[in-house]
């Protein structure tokens, strides 16, 4: 898909994000907005996904023969749900049920409600990269050449399990894995530098044996280019880690540049102000 078309999808996804969070007055808009371009770039351009003859997405848990994506920082569920719906896994109208009673769109993604596109529960941080490694190793056993992608937060790098996985993947040559860190420099209690300094994440992953790449996560052309480069690198004996610089709240000016909108919902006025900055491109649900 050409970049301008992907940008249009991302604009609609951002509308979906703020509308979901506004409707239930809870959820995490900041990181969702920051990662919208990545998820659109993956699902609408870079990932090979199963579809029927009519082009409708087909979901099965095993995902054999197609690329897989895991969201480890499950709190940015609004962007995941919007992208899955807009990609055709379930009707966009279902986004209206986000975080409400009896919904398949739980606060954090789960498989429990059998929502198409979700393969693991996430929310308790630090587990997704391990899950993605397992899925990638299953692909190798199945002689399946498709890739496994996983997204983590930079605050999530505080979790010890992340570093267990960081050690394991290069040791076992899990070279069909592309991990991405949302490097927005913010976590709940403030800037990551103040809360728990990650220092040089790139040097750390390189020292663990990863192929480290950088991406401007809010520049669609760069998102697509770096993802394609990561795919080209796969199969070379090393897992790839992309440090993706993003702006929390990207696309909505008053939500950018602070951790304030990590887990706060906009009121009616703020919703209107946000939507005014985000063209409706695919039709609101």
């Amino acid at each position: 898909m050409v970049i301008t078309e992907l940008q249009k999808v991302a604009s609609q996804v951002r509308r979906d994000i703020v509308r979901q969070v506004h409707a239930c007055q809870s959820g995490h808009p900041g990181g969702s907005l920051g990662c919208a371009d990545l998820l659109v770039g993956l699902y609408f351009d870079q990932m090979t996904l199963k579809a029927d003859d009519a082009g409708n997405k087909v979901f099965d848990m095993d995902g054999i023969g197609e690329d897989l994506f895991f969201l480890s920082n499950g709190h940015i569920s609004p962007v995941f749900y919007s992208v899955l719906a807009r990609a055709g896994y379930f009707p966009a109208a279902e986004l209206a049920t986000f975080r409400k009673l009896n919904s398949r769109l739980q606060g954090h993604p789960t498989t429990h409600e059998h929502l198409e596109g979700i393969r693991i529960a996430s929310g308790s941080l630090g587990q997704g990269m391990s899950v993605a490694i397992g899925a990638a190793q299953a692909k190798k056993l199945n002689k399946d050449n498709s890739l496994v992608f996983v997204l983590m937060g930079d605050g999530e790098q505080n979790e010890g399990q992340v570093w267990e996985a960081a050690m394991y993947a290069p040791h076992h040559k899990v070279d069909n894995l592309v991990a991405v860190i949302d490097y927005n420099g913010q976590q709940i209690d403030g800037p990551t530098d103040k809360v728990m300094n990650n220092r040089d994440l790139g040097a750390k992953y390189a020292a663990f044996g990863w192929n480290v790449m950088k991406m401007n996560g809010n520049d669609m052309a760069d998102v697509v280019k770096v993802l394609a480069e990561a795919r080209a690198f796969s199969g070379n004996g090393q897992p790839t880690m992309i440090l993706m610089t993003t702006e929390m709240g990207a696309g909505v000016d008053f939500m950018m540049g602070s951790h304030k909108w990590h887990g706060v919902a906009p009121n009616d006025e703020q919703l209107a102000a946000a939507l005014a900055q985000l063209p409706e491109t695919l039709g609101d649900y």
């Binding site: 789960t110 397992g134 190793q137 199945n142 267990e164």
Partner: protein, 319 residues
């Protein structure tokens, strides 16, 4: 009292290793993971015969559990293995979110459960694992009693779709169940039919229950002994049918009394058939270093203790 004899003693973990070797040869989807305890888990034969289906995780149990969850996506049947303390308590949140809530077909298979781990002491002697695992929705919890039953259970859980906690141990214990037995998950095994008291035993306490039954028989007491190898789902029908007949019960397990098999039985009896129940288990205490036999005696997890509790249950019934 039905006579049980044995000609050989083996550890239940070796039964697991033997079951894994069979699975390696019969089920190409079975894979194994281990956190730096291959020898302790008796995985050598499986690894030798199926090197590409084994994943060494190093001393990183959280990573191991979640990798196992990921391996199910693609159709694998992973057995995640380590000591029971590190495979349950240390990684409870990983099991809860990535395995149980996500309903992944992961088999958590753990050795060195309970006091019989022995000299390593309380840091390693987990006595809370059955309780933690049975509280998780959808989790099947199995604690077999000897080498043959553990081997059969290992093979059976691979056929079962859904998360399983399979718990076994380190010491050599009598082999008294049939080789190549059929293991039915959730189906209790009638060890000895009796009329005066129901003894519900699991794991290493099943052999002790048999010894207790012989002592009780000498006293003129006809004990019914039932092996509950599957803690969850509990064979409620077997529990109720027995207690309706005998009128009182004893539970016996190598676990904290709080949250263990006895508590599961108590829930059934309270809801459906009130009767005296006495518990043989660890009473709100950590373990310590010692030989397995010394520890089982000190903490009251042996035949003498079962006899004492059986007499107490019968007395309460008659009071």
């Amino acid at each position: 009292m039905k006579k049980y004899t044995f000609t050989e003693k083996k550890d239940t973990r070796s039964g697991f290793g033997a079951g894994m070797q069979v699975l390696g040869q019969t089920n190409p989807n079975v894979v194994a993971l281990c956190a730096d305890l291959i020898g302790s888990l008796k995985l050598d034969a499986f690894i030798k015969e199926n090197p590409e289906r084994f994943f060494q995780t190093g001393i990183a149990e959280a990573n191991m559990i979640c990798i196992a969850a990921g391996l199910t996506i693609g159709g694998k049947i992973p057995f995640a293995t380590t000591f029971a303390n590190f495979g349950t308590g240390r990684v409870y949140d990983q099991i809860r979110q990535s395995v149980a809530y996500s309903n992944k077909n992961v088999k958590i298979a753990c050795s060195h459960a309970g006091l019989t781990l022995g000299e390593d002491g309380a840091t390693h002697q987990i006595l809370e694992d059955l309780g933690m695992m049975k509280m998780l929705p959808g989790m099947t919890v199995i604690n077999p009693c000897d080498y043959n039953q553990t081997k059969a259970a290992t093979i059976a859980v691979a056929e079962h779709e859904g998360p399983v906690y399979l718990r076994f141990g380190r010491p050599v214990v009598p082999i008294f169940t049939a080789p190549d037995q059929e293991f039915i998950i959730g189906k209790a095994w009638m060890v000895n039919e009796g009329a005066d008291v129901s003894i519900f035993a699991t794991g290493h306490l099943v052999w002790e229950a048999i010894l207790a039954g012989e002592i009780l028989a000498e006293k003129g007491i006809d004990a019914e002994i039932i092996n509950i190898h599957t803690i969850k789902p509990l064979d409620e029908e077997a529990v109720l049918a027995s207690v309706r007949k005998t009128g009182c019960a004893v539970s016996a397990e190598e676990h904290q009394i709080a949250g263990g098999l006895g508590d599961s039985i108590a829930q059934v009896l309270i809801k459906k058939h009130l009767a005296p129940l006495e518990y043989v288990g660890v009473e709100d205490s950590f373990g310590e270093s010692g030989t397995p036999a010394q520890l089982m005696e000190k903490y009251g997890l042996n035949a003498a203790s079962i006899v004492e509790k059986a007499l107490k249950a019968i007395a309460r019934k008659q009071a």
